[in-house]
Symmetry: C2
Subunit: 495 residues, 2 copies
């Protein structure tokens, strides 16, 4: 049996096995057909892509080289022996092919597919094929089966409470950082709200990216449990908790292919919520011509799909349609959004109204889940907790508990102002365009990069007056964003 050797090569997200071309026990023809191999050792097995090495520089006959990812996943030490075999073709791929042919799949078939995806048995190509086939047609029962299967293959958080609330927005509206206001309000009220969120996938910032400007978000499940036990809440990145790991794998393929169907959205969101132990959920669906959901009709279809799956998963869900016609607040990008959030929590006079109003409305709906609260009094209670400073105090406790951020992030020093081409009224702001410009400036990786909106829809501006300011930490980032803003600022100003 060959012995393993760690080859310090990073081929993330793929695992790679390096075998010498000579004397490896296989014929060249067998090798060509293999491509993917299974490495079985003392601690279990992994699947990996095969690379063949000429010469003795990297691996010698009798050795198996494991790249960083493969070495880490196998969890053995150098010199230990392993067995290399051709990777078995997952049996569930037959059902993927049937799905491509337009058939519907049973619960157990979908479950087997999701299990194989979560355990890295599918190649990105095979995952892509499955997702595109699902994008073509996916029934409501199939969506439910997928959601359940995604929960089953991951870890679950559990809480000593019959009422565990959450609030989620489907995204697509830049600056819409209401969670960071809703969570402290609800925590101040006393409900349990363990909010795990993602980093930005295609947007200029996710809740985890913005919260990270203020505090550590990189918490494991044990630390999350400790913080929630004391403070009722958390605002953590979900990536370390193994909640719905199949979702993470699916997203890694959905992102480059930009697959963003309602069915995948529902399965992704509700599997994460169920795994996080949520019992009650307020779900925000913004509607607008440049948002993810573009019409009331689409929103109703999406709402029904959420309601169906949530009901069968045992999650009480209240769907709220909100205005997605323009960005929320002023800042877009982690630092600028964090500034807006803290301004609202501090009740500053110039805090953005739209962000505050929306957050209080959503917090009120979450508080309305509390059986102790008189019907319809959630909104007033939320407003009171914000105005009194109780929400701010709850946020400060959360920041301290998670660990205050030690790096001071500031808005990027390289700046450019997009200006009004004519005098007139701001008729519309393109969410999609603004998000792309903010991403080009460097958000969310460059925390200080983004856009500061100086005027919103309805404002009257003079010709040449600044509409928004782009911030970037690098000259290149600013140049890219500036170029795009000059081609089309995303603002429509009507004389």
């Amino acid at each position: 049996m060959p012995a393993i050797r760690h080859i310090p090569i990073d081929t993330y997200p793929e695992s790679t096995v390096f075998l010498p071309r000579r004397d490896n026990g296989y014929s060249p023809e067998q090798f060509k057909a293999m491509r993917k191999v299974q490495v079985t050792g003392r601690c279990g097995e992994i699947l990996a892509t095969l690379a063949i090495v000429d010469g003795d520089g990297l691996v010698r006959p009798g050795e198996v080289g494991l790249g960083n990812e493969a070495f880490r996943r196998l969890g053995m030490t150098e010199g230990e022996e392993v067995v290399i075999t051709q990777a078995p073709v997952p049996a569930s791929l037959e059902d993927v092919r049937r799905k491509i042919d337009g058939e519907s799949l049973s619960d157990s078939e979908i479950s087997a597919i999701i299990r194989d995806i979560a355990t890295h048995r599918y190649s990105p190509m095979e995952i892509g094929a499955f997702l595109v086939a699902c994008a073509g047609f996916m029934s409501t029962p199939e969506t439910l089966a997928m959601t359940r299967a995604m929960v089953d293959v991951g870890s679950r958080l559990s809480w000593d409470s019959p009422l565990v609330v959450d609030k989620h927005c489907i995204g697509g509206v830049p600056g819409n950082r209401t969670s960071m206001i809703v969570v402290p309000i609800v925590a101040a009220h006393g409900l349990i709200i363990p909010k795990t969120s993602s980093r930005a996938i295609t947007s200029p910032s996710g809740t985890a990216d913005t919260m990270e400007v203020l505090a550590n978000v990189d918490l494991d499940a044990a630390r999350v449990a400790q913080i929630v036990a004391r403070d009722h809440a958390v605002l953590a990145w979900g990536g370390k908790m193994n909640l719905s790991p199949a979702d993470d794998v699916l997203i890694s393929v959905e992102r480059p292919l930009r697959i963003d169907t309602f069915e995948q959205m529902v399965a992704s969101i509700l599997s994460k919520k169920a795994a996080a132990g949520s019992t009650h959920l307020v779900l925000d669906i913004p509607i607008g011509p440049t948002a993810k959901v573009r019409s009331e009709g689409e929103a109703v279809r999406l709402r029904k799909l959420f309601e169906y799956v949530a009901r069968h998963m045992g999650i009480v869900t209240e769907v709220v349609f909100t205005d997605g016609s323009e960005p929320v607040g002023r800042g877009i990008g982690p630092v600028l959004e964090a500034r807006d959030v803290m301004a609202v929590l501090r009740n500053e006079a110039d805090a953005p109204d739209d962000l505050r109003d929306r957050a209080v409305m959503l917090a009120g709906k979450v508080i309305d889940f509390d059986p102790e609260v008189e019907g319809g009094r959630g909104y007033a209670r939320a407003m009171e907790l914000l105005s009194s400073g109780a929400a701010l105090a709850a946020m400060e406790r959360l920041i301290a508990a998670q660990g205050a951020q030690t790096t001071i992030y500031r808005p990027g020093i390289h700046q450019f102002e997009a200006t009004a081409p004519v005098a007139g009224r701001v008729a519309s702001i393109d969410c999609h365009r603004i998000a792309r410009i903010a991403r080009l400036a460097g958000a969310p990786m460059d925390k200080g990069a983004g856009i500061d909106l100086l005027h919103k829809t309805g404002a009257h501006v003079r010709r040449g007056e600044a509409l928004y300011r782009i911030h970037a930490g690098s000259k290149d980032g600013l140049a890219f964003a500036r170029e795009m803003a000059l081609a089309d600022s995303g603002y429509l100003v009507q004389p």
Copy 2:
């Protein structure tokens, strides 16, 4: 600018670039987002997957390592300088996304997608997404546009003749090696028939695999032209001629995903024929319960699609439906099929009738394209050329011209006979099952591996009498095939 260094690692079919983790000019965050890079140098540019190397063992700061495939494709020498940039996202991917959303694409959109696929700008995942979206719905004009685009991105052969004939079978029936009989008959008649064929994709042997038992098939376009100029014909592997290179890339993804739609089949076959300069084509569609086309209705739909696209490509096409209910001839696998073909050409008394009859019928239809031949006399002419030995002589000339095979291949020495479980009549033979067993035995890589059918449908057999003999060159191959044959031989014997 960094200098290139050849890293002797084979990551076929992907190209890989190895960069040192330290001092490579990029931040870790940028790297994570890059994954695919463009390497631009003196001779052009390539796209490649990025691998990051720790330590100085493989690449040092200031160097760019290129794996075997990347080094070969870039075509520069070690030490020359290159520029590394993030690989641009092909603009045509936007249209792939629209196709996933169910839209139809225009000719120019499909053309751009095929161009990007042929120039390796798509990842396998992206190609898979495109193919699965097309499998969901693809219009006839889209199929035509794809066929045209596939021809446009490759080389074309041209011939000094207004009549260049070809014969093609869509496959799916083991042992159906009629091309190797049709081509010498038609060549003996005097028509130009430059037959390029593929190696087996999912079957136990392709025409190129079987012809290779007798002669060299690995010819470039110049050699093919020489041979055709003298002998009117060739029986070559098409892989070296750059005919429809997009098809080769698409097939590399269709195969693992087992995508085999009529639309892809038509585009694949007709793009290769148009690129090979064919003006007239006889197309064989076998129909049978275990063949690719399972009913007359399906066959008619496929025929119409072929006719529509072929007409617009300017290829006169005669579609022939044949019996695909059982394998043709006796041998399955390169050596055993070559034996059957030569037995027919040599007019041996025990040559398989069904193979001969089908080949003569198809050759007759090809000869009927010749305006010099009296209407309906093609069949008689084909039979005469076979019986007289003219076809055999033509085949011998072809073998000599292409270069007779120097290795003597023989049927695999490891053998197992599948036997009748009861006395009775052979009611049916499962083409699909027989093909899988032959592949497990080692065909087509192991040329002597395969199956020799001792009885065909309608034969009466005793209990325990041998139905077929499996041949394999390795004990493992025989064991795999034997196990599968014992589980289900593919023969239905009815008492």
